[in-house]
């Protein structure tokens, strides 16, 4: 099990960071928040062209770069740090990941290359009205029109679902999970943007009314595939959260060094310095859990589901604690619209809930530990 990043990985991180510093400053996030699309197509294109980001973890045969969860984690962390607005998590992590684990080899060869190149975007629709994130929440049963499949029902919380060219939909066939591809312009498909707490990450609600769908992965164990994808998504999202938390921490430290009250920098008061020390500990512990889970994914560790749940729970809590601390250290100014802290606060809040709360993952973690023992 590896415990630190290699020099190559650190260099890769530096490249990603430089790119995002240049192309995704907070002002860009504000512009994206206010835009209809929610992201900047030019930056999306360069993300693929300059960094090959969308295919970092995909096979070279599918136009990817053939790296693993560790490198994907570096990208996610840097995107969280920059608060990049882009359909990366929805398309590259969730949708492409689901294809990798839920589609046949031929389907992957057909569908992954345009996702790897960023030329097309897909979104994964699985959560329903009950708001359950795991497979147990998927109840929509696919219907048949002769040889063709059709979908009727509603999916919610579809990450980056509005700007997706294609939708991947998880539904049930004879009780088992099955994966479907629905074209963005399919008939009977209605998508609408949900009003969200975090305007830097778009969510959609999707209604299917006798919508034609193509079934994928007919010979694949989609239940197992979804379980794997879910672990990958947890670890990727946790990495993103760590990136945001590190940024907020660094900015709070910097502010505490400069801000004077009572004739001293506020960072010289133990009330401030001890919170910042505690938050650093939270973040470093969560980061260790995220790195460990990423390595476990790359090494196909049988306990990976426990580690992924741990990474998500710890990162979510560290992220929220840091976001609250960042506002607190900045004082009133940290609560104003014009100050950037709230952008990361809202992301931290949405990431705490997205894919399940820390409490839910603690329960899943313990269940996974028990199952593994």
């Amino acid at each position: 099990m590896r415990f630190s990043f290699s020099d190559e990985q650190e260099q890769f991180r530096a490249v990603v960071r430089r790119f995002l510093d240049d192309h995704a400053p907070p002002s860009a996030a504000r512009a994206c928040m206010a835009s209809a699309l929610g992201h900047d197509e030019a930056v999306w294109a360069r993300l693929a062209d300059d960094l090959g980001a969308s295919g970092i973890h995909l096979d070279e045969a599918h136009g990817g770069q053939g790296f693993g969860q560790a490198e994907l984690g570096i990208i996610m962390e840097e995107m969280g740090r920059a608060l990049l607005c882009a359909p990366y998590f929805g398309s590259a992590v969730l949708a492409a990941g689901m294809l990798r684990h839920g589609a046949t080899v031929a389907e992957q060869a057909e569908l992954l290359p345009p996702l790897a190149s960023g030329a097309r975007r897909a979104a994964l629709a699985w959560v329903e009205d009950a708001g359950r994130w795991d497979a147990a929440g998927i109840t929509l049963a696919a219907g048949r029109d002769g040889a063709a499949w059709r979908l009727d029902g509603r999916k919610r919380f579809v990450v980056d679902g509005l700007c997706a060219d294609d939708l991947l939909v998880l539904a049930r066939v004879d009780g088992a999970l099955a994966l479907f591809l629905v074209a963005g312009d399919a008939r009977g498909l209605a998508r609408r943007a949900l009003e969200v707490i975090d305007p830097t990450r778009r969510l959609a609600e999707v209604d299917f009314t006798a919508t034609p769908a193509r079934r994928l992965g007919a010979d694949v164990d989609v239940d197992a595939g979804f379980a794997r994808l879910f672990d990958e998504a947890l670890v990727a999202l946790a990495g993103e959260t760590i990136g945001g938390a590190r940024r907020l921490h660094a900015e709070a430290v910097e502010y505490a060094r400069l801000r004077m009250q009572f004739g001293r920098p506020i960072g010289s008061f133990q009330a401030i310095k001890h919170q910042l020390a505690d938050r650093l500990l939270d973040i470093e512990l969560a980061a260790a859990a995220v790195n460990h889970a990423a390595a476990a994914l790359d090494e196909n560790d049988p306990a990976v589901s426990a580690f992924a749940a741990q990474a998500k729970a710890m990162a979510s809590e560290a992220g929220m604690a840091m976001a609250a601390c960042a506002i607190q250290v900045h004082g009133g100014i940290g609560f104003t619209w014009d100050h950037d802290t709230h952008l990361w606060y809202k992301r931290a809040k949405s990431s705490e809930v997205l894919l399940g709360t820390p409490a839910w993952h603690r329960e899943r973690y313990l269940a996974a530990l028990e199952a593994n023992a």
Binding site: W133, I197, M260, Q261, F262, G331, G334, F335, Y345, V353
Partner: protein
């Protein structure tokens, strides 16, 4: 002078109300009559719109007003803080000029104390007041000013002496907000509301007679205002609702309350809306989850205990005992309650906590809670400052070494901001 007993006071106010009160008169006119009678602020001195009664007797008078739903003087918002401050520190002329329109509600006031560079450290204000013939010229910036955009008058704390120690170089002024040198800009919060304003002064003018107290008394005077502000939450709860009755004066009162309360409309969300926690846990069925139940129980225990602690403080106060630590602890308890409420609302709402506005749970209220609670531990004195106050003033623990003594000019401070 012997104090009248409760029975006498009741009889007097009842008789007076029977003669003067009716709900179809004009709000300002009625309040004028009320102010002049002294029944509007019965614990104020007779010379100034009061009847010189003890504070406890004010409650008796309030009961008689409540019994017939008679409208009182204007008591919510910043104006009465200004009134109390002027009553204590103003000259005869100030009181004559300012008190009556405060009580009638004709004049709106704002408080100009906080600055971008001096948040927790209020005495570090750097807005400057400089002599200019008989006038004072004001330059600088204030922030967190509620209602500045429709205030006629401002209570201003400004530095008049840079060579004096920090707390001694400040003076207090009454400033006319409707003049060219005063610019008011709304300050939008992360939750989307713009409850506060920034106020910029560029050679704004205060005539000499509008200085309050002596030069250098500013800190002492501001402390009076803040002491009244700490009791302000009670006033808001008490006077923030008009009777649901017909009558010209009630319509006018409702309009006034709506206008004054506008900046405060997200305050219940900031406090965590504990009232929604149990009902929503039931609605969503999340009450069946034992982990949710633990956090929900923590919240309801904490919040009810905080309420009892506050009542204990009030009960002690009403018995005339010195206020215990409860008063200073309430603010800190409120932060804890709000944080725990946000935790519970998140757990209970689960995935729905991602949503806001019409898509959000409880029509967006939950989202507002989640985005407002972080202000609780900052506004009105940060948690850190509260802990210092409790430790130093309640527990009598030794103060920290001070590094801001000597001439204020030499105290390390934040750079002043330009426009």
């Amino acid at each position: 002078m012997s104090m009248p007993d409760e029975h006498t006071v009741r009889a007097e106010v009842r008789a007076w109300l029977a003669e003067h009160w009716h709900p179809e008169q004009d709000l300002v006119e009625w309040r004028g009559i009320l102010a002049d009678s002294g029944w509007g602020m019965p614990h104020w001195p007779r010379a100034w719109y009061g009847r010189g009664l003890p504070v406890a007797m004010s409650a008796v008078v309030d009961e008689e007003f409540d019994a017939i739903e008679a409208v009182g003087v204007a008591r919510i918002g910043i104006r009465l803080l200004a009134g109390a401050t002027l009553l204590e520190h103003g000259s005869e002329a100030h009181k004559r000029r300012f008190l009556r329109p405060i009580l009638t509600g004709e004049d709106t006031w704002c408080q100009l104390f906080s600055e971008p560079g001096s948040g927790s450290d209020l005495a570090g204000a750097t807005t400057r007041a400089e002599r200019d013939g008989d006038d004072w010229r004001i330059n600088g910036q204030k922030v967190w000013t509620t209602s500045a955009h429709h205030a006629e008058w401002g209570l201003l704390l400004a530095r008049t002496d840079w060579d004096a120690p920090k707390h001694q170089g400040l003076s207090c002024f009454v400033i006319d907000m409707r003049q060219p040198g005063v610019e008011v800009q709304p300050l939008k919060q992360m939750n989307g509301y713009a409850s506060f304003n920034q106020v910029f002064f560029t050679d704004a003018v205060v005539p000499a007679e509008n200085r309050l107290g002596e030069i250098g008394d500013g800190w002492k005077i501001a402390m009076t205002t803040l002491a009244h502000e700490r009791r302000g939450a009670d006033a808001l709860r008490r006077w923030g609702q008009a009777p649901a009755r017909a009558g010209r004066i009630y319509d006018q009162l409702r309009a006034e309350i709506a206008s004054v309360l506008e900046p405060y409309k997200w305050y219940p969300q900031r406090a965590g809306r504990v009232d929604l926690a149990l009902p929503r846990a039931r609605e969503t069925g999340r009450i069946a989850d034992p982990a949710v139940r633990q956090e929900l129980a923590r919240l309801l225990m904490l919040s009810s205990a905080a309420e009892w602690l506050a009542r204990r403080a009030r009960a002690a106060h009403e018995l005339g005992r010195p206020q215990g630590p409860e008063g200073s602890l309430g603010k800190l308890a409120g932060s804890e309650v709000a944080r725990q409420a946000a935790r519970v609302h998140t757990l209970v709402s689960d995935a729905e906590a991602l949503l806001a506005g019409r898509d959000g749970p409880h029509d967006g209220t939950i989202a507002e809670i989640l985005l407002s609670v972080p202000a609780t531990s900052i506004a009105g004195g940060t948690d850190e400052i509260q802990r210092n106050i409790i430790a130093e003033r309640v527990l009598d623990l030794p103060r920290e070494p001070r590094l801001d003594g000597g001439p204020f000019r030499d105290v390390p401070r934040n750079p002043e901001r330009g426009r």
